[in-house]
C-alpha cells in the first residue's frame, strides 16, 4: 500500500524497470561504443578519418543516403494518394482497406523479401512465365540490381508511411474542406490550402520514420541488390564478420546515427499520439508561402474568380467536380497499390503448395512436401521452438515493464512524458544496425553473446518500445476520473487497478504484447549479431538458407507466417475494436 502511495506521488518510479533494461542493454554500450569510435583513451578522429579516407566507404555512405531518400520519396508518392483515397472512401471500404494495409505490416519482412526473390529471380515467376510464353529467350535482369532494392524496400516501408498518414487524415474535420469550398475554393484549392497543410504532421511522421528505418536496412539490399548496391549496414555487418576493428565499426555506426539524429531533430518525430504542437506547425509555413506567391497561382486565380462564386453551392453538394472518371482512376490506383502490397505474399502462399521440384505458379500438382520438409526437419522445428520461446519471454518481459512505464508516464507532465517516451523509443527509431552493433558490443563485454538471455535482452529493448507506444495510446484516452470515482467508493488502490484501470486498458496491453511478440519473432539484424551463430531463431535460420540457395521450404514457412498476421488481426479486432466504440461513446 505504501508503495502504491509512493507511486502516486512519484509516478516516474514506474519507468525504472524499463529504463534500467534500456540503459543497461543499449545506453551504456552506446556510450562506450561512442568513445571507442573516438579512439579512447587517446581521443582522436582517426577512426573517422580512416573510414572517410577510403573512397569506397564514402561511396557506400552516400549510397545509403541516396537509397534511403529515394525509397522514402517513392513511399510518400505512393502512400499519400493511397491514404487520401482510403480516407475519402465510404466507411466499410475504409476499414477493409486499412486492414489490407495493416496486414503486410504484420508479416515478417524476411518473408516479404523472400517473396520478391521468388517473383523477380532469374528462375523466378516473372522470368519463367515470360520464357514459357516465348516472349523472351533469356531471363531479364530483374533482381540483384537497384530497382529490385527499391521494390523490396518500398514494399516493406509503404505501410509504415501510410498508417501515420491515415491516422492524421482521418482526424481532419471534413467540414473544414466543405467550409473552404463554401468560401469559393475550387476542389483542388480546398485540398491544397486546407487539407494538405493539415495533413503535413502525418507526412512528417511518416517520412521521418520511413527514412530513418531505411538507413538501417540490411536484409533487403543484401537479398535483392547487386554487389554494388551495398548499404552502410552491410558494410558494418561484414566488418564484424571479417575484421572486427571496433573503432572503424563504431565510426561507421555513429555516422549513420548522426544522419538519423539530424533528420529526427530537424523534422521531429511525434509518435506519442498527441496533437501537433502549434509552434511545430509554423515550420511548414515557408512551403505554403512559396506556393501562395507563385505567379502561376495568381494568374489562375484571376481567371477563376469570376466563375467561382456562382458555382460553389452546386459543387459543394457534388462528390467531385470531375465525376466518374476521377473516381475510377482513384479505384484503379488503390487496386494497384493493394496488389503490390498483397500479391507477393499471396503468390507465395499458393506456390508453397507446389508439387514439383521448384516453386511454380500456378502449381501443376499440389502437395504438402515443403511443409513436410519444414516440420520434419529438426533444425527447422528447433528454430521455430526457439523463436516461440524467446518471443513469449520477450513479450511477457517487455509488456510488463512497458505497461508500467506507460502507466507512470501517463501521470506526469506532457514535457517529461514526451522526453521519456523519446528515450524509450530510441531502439526502434535509431537505425536497426546501429542499435544492433551497440548492443552486440555490450553483450560481448558481459559474455552474453550466443545465449538465450542475450537474445531476450536484445529484443526486449525494441519490444518494450512498441509496448510503451501502444499502451500509452490507450492510456491517453483513459479518463482518470474513473479511478477517482472508484476510490471515492472505497475501492482500495489495488482494487481500483484490478477492477477499473486494467479492464479498460486491457486492449492496449494485449496489443502491446502482440507487437512485442511480433517484433521478437521477426527480428533478424540485431539477433543475428548477438546470437553469435550459436542460437538459431526461425528468422535467422531462414536468412541463412536464403543466402545460400532458393530453398522452397522457406515458401512454406513464409506462407505460415503470412497467415499468422490474419490470426493477429482477428485477435486485435476482438480485443480492440470491439471495446473502442463503447469507450468513445462515453467520452462524448
Amino acid at each position: 500500500m505504501d508503495i502504491l502511495r509512493n507511486v502516486s506521488r512519484n509516478p516516474l518510479g514506474l519507468t525504472v524497470p524499463a529504463l534500467t533494461i534500456l540503459i543497461a542493454v543499449f545506453g551504456i554500450p552506446t556510450i562506450f561504443f561512442f568513445f571507442a569510435s573516438l579512439n579512447a583513451p587517446e581521443y582522436s578522429l582517426s577512426n573517422y578519418e580512416a573510414f572517410l579516407s577510403r573512397g569506397a566507404n564514402v561511396r557506400i555512405l552516400f549510397q545509403t543516403i541516396e537509397i534511403s531518400v529515394i525509397a522514402t520519396l517513392l513511399c510518400l508518392a505512393i502512400g499519400y494518394p493511397t491514404a487520401y483515397l482510403i480516407t475519402a472512401a465510404p466507411k466499410r471500404a475504409r476499414v477493409a482497406l486499412t486492414v489490407l494495409v495493416f496486414l503486410p505490416w504484420l508479416t515478417s519482412g524476411l518473408v516479404r523479401t523472400y517473396a520478391w526473390i521468388v517473383l523477380l529471380g532469374d528462375n523466378g515467376l516473372i522470368n519463367r512465365t515470360l520464357i514459357d510464353l516465348g516472349l523472351i529467350s533469356s531471363p531479364l535482369p530483374l533482381i540483384y540490381n537497384r530497382l529490385a532494392v527499391y521494390i523490396g524496400m518500398v514494399h516493406i516501408m509503404l505501410p509504415v508511411m501510410i498508417l501515420p498518414l491515415l491516422s492524421v487524415m482521418q482526424g481532419i474535420d471534413k467540414s473544414l474542406v466543405a467550409a473552404a469550398r463554401s468560401m469559393g475554393a475550387r476542389p483542388f484549392t480546398a485540398f491544397w490550402r486546407v487539407f494538405l497543410p493539415l495533413s503535413l504532421p502525418g507526412v512528417r511522421s511518416g517520412t521521418v520514420l520511413v527514412f530513418v528505418i531505411c538507413l538501417g536496412f540490411y536484409i533487403t539490399p543484401q537479398a535483392l541488390g547487386g554487389l554494388r548496391d551495398v548499404m552502410l549496414s552491410t558494410f558494418i555487418a561484414n566488418q564484424i564478420e571479417t575484421s572486427f576493428s571496433i573503432g572503424v565499426i563504431a565510426a561507421a555506426a555513429f555516422m549513420l546515427l548522426a544522419i538519423a539524429a539530424i533528420v529526427l531533430s530537424v523534422l521531429g518525430l511525434d509518435m506519442s499520439g498527441e496533437r501537433v504542437r502549434p509552434d511545430r506547425f509554423h515550420e511548414e509555413h515557408w512551403a505554403r508561402r512559396v506556393f501562395r506567391s507563385s505567379i502561376v497561382t495568381r494568374g489562375m486565380k484571376a481567371v477563376a474568380d469570376k466563375f467561382r462564386a456562382a458555382r460553389w453551392t452546386r459543387q459543394l453538394y457534388q462528390r467531385t467536380g470531375a465525376g466518374n472518371s476521377s473516381a475510377l482512376a482513384g479505384s484503379v490506383f488503390l487496386a494497384l497499390v493493394m496488389t503490390f502490397l498483397l500479391l507477393p505474399g499471396m503468390l507465395d502462399v499458393v506456390m508453397s503448395f507446389s508439387g514439383g521440384a521448384y516453386l511454380e505458379f500456378p502449381p501443376s500438382t499440389l502437395s504438402l512436401q515443403w511443409y513436410r520438409s519444414f516440420l520434419g526437419d529438426p533444425s527447422w522445428t528447433g528454430a521455430l521452438w526457439t523463436s516461440v520461446q524467446v518471443g513469449l519471454i520477450v513479450a511477457a518481459l517487455s509488456t510488463i515493464v512497458g505497461t508500467l512505464a506507460a502507466y507512470g508516464l501517463s501521470r506526469t507532465t506532457p514535457r517529461i512524458r514526451s522526453s521519456f517516451t523519446m528515450c524509450l523509443m530510441a531502439p526502434i527509431t535509431f537505425p536497426a544496425i546501429v542499435v544492433g552493433v551497440a548492443i552486440y558490443f555490450g553483450m560481448a563485454k558481459i559474455g552474453l553473446v550466443g545465449t538465450v538471455s542475450g537474445i531476450v535482452l536484445t529484443q526486449s529493448v525494441g519490444a518494450t518500445a512498441y509496448a510503451v507506444v501502444i499502451v500509452s495510446a490507450t492510456l491517453a484516452t483513459f479518463d482518470r476520473r474513473l479511478e477517482r470515482a472508484a476510490l471515492s467508493m472505497q475501492a482500495s488502490p489495488i482494487q481500483t487497478l484490478v477492477r477499473v484501470t486494467m479492464p479498460l486498458i486491457r486492449p492496449g496491453i494485449i496489443g502491446g504484447a502482440l507487437f512485442a511478440f511480433i517484433h521478437s519473432f521477426d527480428e533478424v539484424v540485431q539477433t543475428s549479431l548477438v546470437s553469435g551463430f550459436a542460437i538459431r531463431t526461425l528468422p535467422l535460420k531462414m536468412w541463412e538458407n536464403m543466402r545460400n540457395e532458393l530453398d522452397p521450404t522457406i515458401a512454406a514457412i513464409g506462407s505460415l507466417l503470412t497467415l499468422l498476421p490474419i490470426l493477429w488481426l482477428v485477435a486485435l479486432y476482438v480485443t480492440w475494436w470491439r471495446v473502442r466504440p463503447k469507450v468513445q461513446a462515453m467520452a462524448q
Binding site: R484, A486, L504, M586
Partner: protein
C-alpha cells in the same frame, strides 16, 4: 442518515448562518492553502459546513472551487491547513477511506460495467453480501426511475439518465457526505431544470451533507442552503442565496450573481463613502413617464433619462436607460395596463433609498 434538517429547505436564517461553531458542524476547512508549483490555487480557505446542509461553492473557472472539493475528497493534499470531518482531521486518511459519495463532472460511470454493476460497485467495496446488494440496487434504481435500465451499459443511456445513475451511485452506500462536481454542466437547459428539482428532492429525502461545485449562478441559487462565492483562490462571501443576492458585500459578488447597476455618478445623493460604490438591482428600479409622480415619493430618489433599448423577454421587459453618461438596466415584470416605452422616450426612473447597497470596490 436522516437528520434534523430533513424537509427544512427554506433559506437558512441569519442566525443559522452565524452559528459556525455548532456541534452540528460536519466538515471544516481550517486555513487550507494549496499551491501548484508557484501558483496559489486556494489561499487560507476556512469554511464550516453543517450536517445536512446543501452548500454550493460558486465561482468562475480558476477560482479554486474544484481544488477545494478535490482536497475534501482526498484526491489532492493541502499545502498547509487542515480539513476535519466530524471533528477529526482527515489529513492522513486516503480518499478511499473517506466515506463520501461523489458525482463527478461528466459522471465518470464505468464504461465496462452495466448500470447495475456501477451501482453495486460501492456496496461491493464495502463488503456487502450479494443478496443484500441486489435488493438495495433494485430500490435505488426504482427511486431514480431507471428500473428497466439495470442491464444497459452507460453508453446506452441519455445524458439525463447517466446523470441519475451517477447520483444513485453516489447515494447508494449511505455515505453521510455527498459531493457534486459541476453536476449539471453537461446537460441542456430543459433537462438541467428537471435535474435541479430532482437533486433537491433527493437532498430532502436523504438529508446528506452536500457540497456542490458550480459556475452556474442559477443552479447555486435554486439548490443551496448557503453559497460560498470564490474569487482567485479566496472566499469572497458566504451567505444564504437570498442574503447573497440582496446584500452582496463586493462588486464581484454583485456582478457574479445576477445583474447589477453601479451608480457612480447618478445616484447616490451626497456620494458614496470613500472606497465604497453604490449598487442597485435592475428589478428595484421603477420606470414611469415624466408626468407621473411616484407614490411614497419622500423615500424615493428619482432621475430622468431616455430609453436606449427595450427587450421583451417573456414575462420580463428589459430597458437600457441612459442617464447622463451612464446606462442603467431596468427589469420590469409585464403586467396589464402598464405603459410600454420605446427607444428615444424621455422617462423617469426611481428607487427606494433603502434599496441601494454599498459595496467594496
Amino acid at each position: 442518515m436522516v437528520n434534523a434538517h430533513t424537509g427544512n429547505l427554506a433559506p437558512a436564517s441569519a442566525e443559522r448562518a452565524c452559528a459556525d461553531e455548532s456541534p452540528l458542524a460536519q466538515i471544516e476547512f481550517r486555513k487550507v492553502t494549496k499551491m501548484y508549483g508557484g501558483v496559489v490555487a486556494l489561499r487560507d480557505f476556512s469554511l464550516t459546513v453543517r450536517k445536512g446542509e446543501f452548500l454550493t461553492i460558486l465561482g468562475p473557472s480558476g477560482s479554486g472551487k474544484t481544488t477545494a472539493l478535490m482536497i475534501l475528497a482526498g484526491f489532492e493534499a493541502p499545502s498547509s491547513g487542515d480539513v476535519l470531518i466530524a471533528q477529526n482531521s482527515v489529513a492522513a486518511v486516503p480518499s478511499f477511506r473517506r466515506d463520501q459519495g461523489i458525482v463527478f463532472q461528466s459522471y465518470a460511470l464505468f464504461p465496462h460495467m452495466t448500470v447495475r454493476q456501477n451501482l453495486e460497485f460501492p456496496l461491493e467495496m464495502r463488503g456487502m453480501k450479494a443478496s443484500d446488494r441486489l435488493a438495495k440496487v433494485d430500490r435505488m434504481l426504482e427511486r431514480v426511475h431507471l428500473k428497466d435500465f439495470g442491464l444497459r451499459m452507460p453508453s446506452q443511456l441519455s445524458g439525463g439518465q447517466q446523470q441519475r445513475v451517477a447520483l444513485a451511485r453516489a447515494l447508494i452506500a449511505d455515505s453521510p457526505i455527498l459531493l457534486l462536481d459541476e453536476p449539471l454542466g453537461a446537460l441542456d437547459r430543459n433537462l438541467r431544470e428537471q435535474m435541479q428539482s430532482e437533486i433537491k428532492q433527493l437532498h430532502r429525502e436523504f438529508g446528506k451533507t452536500t457540497i456542490c461545485v458550480t459556475h452556474d449562478q442559477e443552479e447555486a441559487l435554486t439548490l443551496s442552503d448557503r453559497i460560498v462565492v470564490m474569487r482567485a483562490g479566496r472566499i469572497e462571501q458566504v451567505d444564504t442565496p437570498e442574503a447573497l443576492y440582496d446584500r452582496p458585500t463586493s462588486r464581484f459578488v454583485a456582478n457574479f450573481l445576477g445583474e447589477a447597476n453601479i451608480l457612480s455618478q447618478v445616484g447616490f445623493e451626497g456620494g458614496a463613502p470613500a472606497g465604497k460604490i453604490a449598487m442597485i438591482r435592475p428589478e428595484r428600479i421603477a420606470i414611469s413617464s415624466l408626468a407621473s409622480r411616484p407614490v411614497d415619493a419622500e423615500n424615493r430618489q428619482s432621475v430622468t433619462g431616455h430609453v436606449e433599448e427595450m427587450t421583451y423577454a417573456g414575462p420580463l421587459r428589459k430597458y437600457h436607460v441612459r442617464v447622463r453618461d451612464e446606462v442603467l438596466v431596468v427589469r420590469e415584470h409585464v403586467a396589464a395596463g402598464q405603459p410600454v416605452f420605446q427607444p428615444g422616450d424621455q422617462i423617469q426612473l426611481s428607487w427606494l433609498r433603502s434599496d441601494i447597497r454599498l459595496l467594496a470596490e
